[in-house]
């Protein structure tokens, strides 16, 4: 089971009319890996991710997530994944506890487990005294970590993070990546999109999408060797310019 590919994608395509938003991409993600999914805005990474999490139907191609087919079993996929959007979407007018209870509830967690998890989660985030605070009044950094923890509340095998560090300061970003590392060590697969190239360095492997296609896919170290540059930023620029 160790080397099993938890995400397997072959020629996955999404067409809007004549436009290929995602053009026959193929890749795989290993269990427990931090997989960086990079690309400029509009390169198709969000569309690709939406197909994998079951809220957008591929035009054609093949993909399995957590062992389930995206065409045949999107519902089973949904039970096995977590998702955090770039908006850190939580309910601002609900308290921290109420948000946890609600999201735990829709994943079908039992009351007892939710209670236990709430305690664990608050102490992990160091916000024990904020359980009854409205989420709307939390600082952005805390909200981000809370959204991440809630996305993991049902202990999914994979968590999809859509630009999870947008708008937060560098220190908070660093702390957030530490959380991601920790979860990856515990065996959760992390699929993360970002356009911060320094963050790409933290990933085990990265793929770079340009206009609907995956142009490069390897470890950050290898990619830098191939393109003979010092940073992922330069790799990205080279690819984006089509060199």
């Amino acid at each position: 089971m160790k080397d099993q590919n938890i995400i397997q994608v072959k020629n996955l395509t999404k067409k809007y009319g004549d436009f290929f938003a995602v053009n026959e991409i193929s890749f795989h993600v290993k269990k427990g890996e931090i997989f960086g999914f990079l690309g400029a805005n509009g390169a198709g990474k969000t569309t690709a991710m939406k197909m994998l999490i079951g809220i957008s139907k591929p035009t054609y191609g093949e993909a399995t997530v957590a062992g389930f087919d995206v065409f045949k079993n999107p519902e089973k996929i949904k039970k096995n994944i977590g998702y955090m959007s770039q908006k850190f979407a939580l309910y601002d007018d609900l308290t921290v506890n109420e948000n946890i209870i609600f999201f735990g509830g829709i994943y079908g967690l039992k009351r007892k487990i939710i209670k236990h998890k709430t305690k664990e989660l608050l102490s992990y985030l160091g916000i024990e005294e904020l359980g009854k605070t409205l989420v709307g009044s939390l600082p952005l950094g805390v909200k981000q970590k809370l959204a991440f923890s809630i996305a993991l509340i049902h202990e999914p095998k994979i968590v999809f993070l859509d630009e999870p560090t947008g708008g937060v300061d560098p220190i908070t970003r660093r702390q957030f990546w530490e959380m991601i590392y920790e979860k990856a060590h515990q065996g959760t697969t992390i699929f993360v999109t970002t356009h911060y190239m320094d963050e790409a360095e933290y990933c085990d492997r990265v793929s770079i999408m340009v206009t609907g296609k995956i142009e490069a896919l390897d470890t950050p170290k290898k990619l830098k060797e191939i393109y003979k540059v010092d940073s992922m930023n330069e790799v990205f620029l080279k690819l984006a310019r089509g060199e």
């Binding site: 979407a89 079908g108 202990e155």
Partner: protein
């Protein structure tokens, strides 16, 4: 496996999820002052407003009297007029010039001018004239005043002719059925009920669904194991309750405060109201599928739903007197049919035997709206 979802009793499970969803929805509603106002303040404010302020009846209208006759007959007529609740003699005028002055001051809405030697003329010529001058800047009030005065004069005339047999006489024996006192509040209660249900059901749901889209939680919900229709059902469900509650409040206020009759079956009234609520809710869902922001949803609801309901459903302006194209258009407004049903049940006391056609139209519309929103939703997910 660390995966903790228990596979016990799936049905119980679904109910629990649903309960959690509804609870959350009520948190949203009760923590938002704006929603609270629309949900609970608005119905009461509107019904009282329409009931008391906006009315076609006249009550205690200020008038002036210019009595050139000053005899027993004119005195009797003036007495009769001031005894009615409709008029309040505000001013006595003694010369022609003052007539226009009093109108311009805006103090009176009508002036009654009695011709000189009224009593004498009446006995000698069998004929006397009273001039009714009204302020027609408000045409409806003016006409109503004239009608009311005529009715009072007719009564007096009938008393005079009591003992005399007229050779030929054709008389219109009128009876105003279902609303003999022509109370406009009987018209407004069904109308306000329709508006409020539309507002709560369609506008509030469309706003609350688009709100989730705007803050991004809709995406999270769609990625969760909840099915899209469960998400929508969960959003819509609380509003069914609130709408029913509102309908109840309006009926109760109408009944106790305005003495609105409730002739027909309460059960049928309830069923038809739930039907209308569901049709309005499906409209709300439909609006939410075509708008991405709360503001758009609100604008579409106000312009696309509320305005037609107020102007074209027969609530304020009778459909029969609209131009033909608007008459046809009024047919595609669910509220038109619901108002007919409401008036039928409340005022006429008729049952389903008379209202099945309107009910079927409403059912048909509801199914159509639901189908359309499901289709739109699917397109979005494709």
């Amino acid at each position: 496996m660390p995966y903790m979802v228990q596979k016990t009793n799936r049905k119980e499970f679904k109910m629990k999820k649903f309960k959690g969803f509804i609870k959350k929805e009520f948190y949203h509603i009760f923590r938002d002052k704006r929603s609270l106002f629309i949900l609970f303040g608005m119905p009461i404010a509107q019904i009282l407003l329409f009931g008391y302020a906006v009315t076609n009846e006249i009550n205690n209208v200020n008038i002036a009297i210019f009595d050139k006759a000053n005899d027993a007959q004119s005195e009797k007529i003036i007495q009769n007029i001031s005894a009615s609740n409709y008029f309040n003699i505000e001013q006595i005028i003694y010369n022609e010039a003052d007539i226009e002055k009093s109108f311009k001051k805006g103090k009176v809405k009508a002036v009654l001018v009695f011709e000189p030697k009224l009593a004498k003329k009446l006995t000698k010529d069998n004929k006397a004239n009273i001039q009714v001058i009204t302020d027609a800047t408000e045409p409806n009030t003016a006409t109503t005043i004239i009608n009311y005065v005529s009715v009072i004069l007719q009564k007096i005339q009938m008393n005079l002719n009591k003992d005399i047999k007229m050779p030929y006489q054709i008389k219109a024996q009128t009876r105003m059925l279902y609303n003999p006192e022509l109370k406009s509040v009987f018209m407004f209660v069904p109308g306000v009920m329709t508006i409020i249900l539309m507002l709560v059901s369609a506008m509030m749901t469309s706003i609350s669904i688009t709100r989730e889209k705007e803050i991004g939680t809709m995406e999270i919900l769609l990625v969760s194991p909840l099915k899209p229709f469960q998400v929508i059902l969960g959003k819509v469900f609380p509003y069914i309750f609130l709408s029913i509650f509102n309908a109840l409040v309006i009926v109760v206020i109408g009944y106790f405060v305005f003495r609105m009759p409730l002739e027909g079956s309460y059960f049928l009234l309830g069923l038809e109201s739930v039907l209308f609520i569901v049709s309005a809710l499906s409209l709300g869902v439909l609006i939410s599928t075509i708008s991405n922001t709360q503001q758009t949803a609100m604008m579409i609801s106000l312009m696309g739903l509320l305005l037609p309901v107020i102007l074209l459903s027969g609530f304020i302006f009778p459909i029969e007197s609209m131009p033909r194209p608007l008459q046809i258009f009024s047919n595609i407004i669910p509220a038109t049919w619901y108002i007919i049903i409401l008036k039928g049940i409340m005022l006429k006391g008729v049952g389903i035997a008379y209202l099945w056609k309107e009910t079927l139209v409403l059912i048909g519309m509801t199914i159509f709206f639901i189908a359309l929103s499901i289709r739109n939703y699917k397109i979005r997910l494709e």
